[in-house]
Point group: D2
């Protein structure tokens, strides 16, 4: 039997606060397509959270949230600047290119899986002729695909560069909660106050069964976005079931508490693994994911014991992701199994 | 306070059998993206239902199910034949055109909202030059947008025509359950045995919170369809929550019992309304929707009493849709309110 | 041997004025992609013609000119209002839908193949919900596909309606020259002064070997249009050969003289045919095309004598198109052959 | 006054053999859209050249030829393997992504601007999960963007790998003539006999005013390709003017003689420049382009003297391209100017 606890944060189930309001929404008949009370409440809760009158749209998953948000910023002959390890580049099967009808992603290097101002400037300057797509937007993954977090200053610097260069600024926040939990800054500071135009706010990895929110801080960019969602198969008829979990999660800061727990579990795991001989961290553990170089024998033992984990970055690299559901026991069992593995002759 | 009971079948909540298995699926960690036990069980249940080894994919909603299924049948320079009142034409905001990158829908007339063999033949013959998109697929809505149902013979005739003319055959079954309940034939007979290549099997209107199944009876057409779903933002990470409701609904024929109830409520409503002076049926009531010509004063009174309903087809036409949740009391209250309305001076 | 003189205006060769400057452009090396003297001269000539500082782009053919112009006015979830007999609907194999990634064409009826203000208003009002594409642009074919011409007042009225309703206004001028020749108004009056935002100005049917001009009167809509052309395979490397014919045709009003001749030939043909017993005009002959109801025996004789012509509109309808190259002799021979045909027993 | 002789091979005019048949085609009326004698002759000439019954389509330019050919090999969720310096990646403004509705290009390294078997295998193996586009085609540029030529053995090896791995094989032959002239092998050997499925056969750079041929050696892949061209704005109405130049160029091997001349001029230039102190070749000169590292002072002097050339690859790199029109005098003048530049104090 496979142990999927650390394979991803989407192997977890539904967080109690999300489930409670999901079930509470299952009353009598209710207007469909978002014209219901739960959707209104969820939108208001998000506006409260960000302390601004943003435009909120609920879609089904992260690929859709990112791809539709980006498509609203560019035309097909434009390009989008991102880190070469960004989720939109590595894990959405060409979703952004599909929804934008061909917009190219321009890939930058950058320490710790993070795009930086120099990388953006370099790509903008690289080609300015008509034979190459024109940069029109920047997207960053916060927290990143390698478990790091952009500091507030880093986000602000990118925001300033975008304004200066006439680029729209999108944040892929599939794990936005983990980033906020790590940084301890307000959602407003980390987004629109820092120049972010549109945020994909992740619900699924946070503990919902399904659903993400696309949050536009720039009203003009949100124009007709509801039509875009509808045409793209992202308008839920029984919208209340996408919206209700947000109401539950945003009450009493549940979303942040749950993310803080996930981060803490990752830190516990990271500290324990880093202390083992022959194991080294690939990236600093700042959110809910741990990336380590694991000796081959240890990795082998983990697999024999049924642990599922990805090892797609470099030789020997292993990723372990924690969620709202991760327990101390699971962390300690995994660490113990790694120890066992290390003791096996290579 | 708005009364949405008859506005659509998607104003209803989650059917008990669907909810029960949804909640049952919320256990510990589980592999994501469909590599879980619930998804396996749901696929098997659908294969059992259709008595064949079909390929099953779960997507989020009907626009996606239809658009992705159709996109897998055609190229952008092809065309798709459908009735002018088909859902893909009238209510998906250009979704089929978007996902296929521009494929044109060719619209046929046809009694009772139903496409017929003559209509197909006429459109295929109308243009055979390179300056017009080449017909490559046919899609029918079963049950239709006006509450009628294609008979088994009608489906078989269209299937035969498609084979003869080299056209792929898609069935939009957002209300497939209501059609099966009306006809009393097996799902297999009504689909692949009649020549249907791919079915959009509706879950939401049947009583699920979210989700439809795309069922390919033709393995070749299903090739790489999982990639298509992923790229198009239709691959759920926590797939078990899309799949589990199918397990519940397909057990002990719950899906069919629920649809039979919805149809019965529509018949009760239809019979009562048709007996009222000045009210006439626009289409025979064969599934779960009733279309009537309502005198203006009656319509006005209904609105004043808070009833939500669509009236988009012709002058005075009103649509009332029943679902698994519709009660005899709701039907009788609506009928009484229509009666009251009729007694008001026009 | 087939006689193609009246099959279309694109069966003709290259007009002397166009050929002369084409050959004159074939000198030594010259900057490519439009950075050459001929392109500069052609753009200036078009700006002079329209008496305004418009943005001019040369593309290869009419499908591209129309599709790219329209794509710059809409997003995929919008719709474009046109007459049901417009060229973009009937003869571009879904080009507009393809380049816009799925934008729907909304079809209006209208006398003489012409869209009118009522038709536009009706389509705008028909659906205002999110489940149907939102009207965002209007396109008219001037002269029309059935040989009629919008009067200046008609164009102005549509322009005013577009402004009022927030719709962009495109004119498909594949046969713009024939329309101007018929109306005797200035190109400026017939376009931007009447509210046209962008014009597809036809070169091929006017006498060039290849090429059309997309003329934007609204600078904002032209933003990044050069990138759009490049990505869409519509940026000629040896641009001078697309541009030079415009220089020749626009000198000394050659374009208008040639179109006037084509119209005159059509009038001669129209008058002669209309005078024959059993032959009737389907539409008034206002530009360079004649549409007649031809008795079956006459049509049969024409085919036996090798005449190529389209008969795609209604039973018995035949289209004959004149061009810069049509001669009086050809017209008279055709008329004589129709007479012969009429004398054959039916 | 700018000297554009070496800026690109598309700064040249029309080659005499091409112009002669272009003008010869300008006779009386002729059937449009390719149903004419010149198109038939041109297609036959290409079939003769390749000694096989291939499917031939004439389109307007290289971006279209490549993008449409590639789009016919893949779906949007697939990927196309190419060298990171391939033309489709670096100079078509996202054309391949646009026409395929989002297909990703996967970039390989490789000596001399050439893709190799190892690079293909590495990209195929890199990702085999559903979250990344599935490799489905390979495209190579022959001759390459850096003036090198794939040997027959190299093409054959890639062809064999494609067959083995189930990948379609496209050759971007914008400068196919230069490659054939260099290698001295038959067009058949270099294409279908080596496993190439479809070739973009360049006409413009060879000496035509406009136009490329898409040549399918695999009939199945060519299915409905004429519709694809029409929809994509690539079906010329006066097709004879695209086709006729091919008739002229393919007669008496004119195309190959002209390409041989261009290559010889490049060799002359390359040899002379390489002999200069401080100048070094960046790539071997195998076709009609020369890439050299030029000291800054020399580059500066060239610019002052009006020479246009690209310098987009690395610091100091300069590209000079020869064509059918390049003269010995032009080569020698350029070399002399470089010499002058080198003598200027840096």
């Amino acid at each position: 039997m496979q142990k999927t606890a650390f394979a991803s944060d989407n192997t977890s189930g539904i967080c109690p606060e999300a489930l409670e309001s999901f079930i509470a929404a299952n009353t009598a008949n209710m207007a469909s397509y978002g014209n219901d009370e739960w959707t209104r409440r969820a939108c208001d809760a998000i506006r409260d959270l960000f302390q601004t009158d943003c435009d909120v749209f609920f879609v089904f998953n992260g690929t859709a949230a990112n791809s539709l948000a980006l498509a609203s910023l560019v035309q097909s002959y434009h390009s989008i600047i991102c880190h070469k390890l960004s989720h939109v580049e590595t894990d959405e099967c060409g979703g952004p290119e599909f929804f934008s009808n061909g917009t190219k992603l321009l890939l930058a290097e950058g320490e710790g899986g993070k795009l930086d101002v120099e990388g953006i400037a370099r790509l903008v300057a690289a080609r300015t002729d008509i034979h190459y797509p024109k940069p029109r937007a920047v997207t960053i993954t916060q927290s990143t695909e390698v478990g790091t977090v952009y500091s507030l200053a880093e986000v602000q610097a990118i925001g300033a560069t975008c304004r200066e260069m006439g680029l729209a600024f999108h944040m892929d926040g599939a794990r936005f909660a983990n980033a906020v939990a790590h940084l301890g800054v307000s959602p407003a500071e980390l987004t629109w106050k820092a120049g972010v135009d549109v945020l994909s706010f992740g619900g699924t990895k946070m503990g919902m069964p399904v659903g993400e929110a696309v949050v536009f801080f720039n009203h003009q960019l949100a124009q007709d976005f509801a039509y875009r969602c509808k045409q793209a198969g992202q308008l839920a008829s029984k919208m209340r079931f996408l919206a209700a979990p947000w109401v539950g999660m945003l009450q009493d800061n549940a979303w942040l508490k749950r993310a803080t727990h996930a981060n803490a579990m990752a830190t516990r795991l990271s500290d324990a693994l880093a202390a083992l001989p022959g194991v080294s961290l690939m990236f600093p553990t700042q959110a809910n994911a741990v990336f380590v170089n694991l000796p081959a024998n240890a990795a082998q033992v983990l697999k024999e014991k049924g642990w599922a984990f990805y090892s797609f970055i470099g030789a020997g690299g292993a990723r372990f992701v924690c969620s709202w559901a991760t327990t101390v026991e699971e962390v300690d069992t995994l660490v113990a199994d790694v120890q066992t593995g290390l003791s096996v002759a290579g």
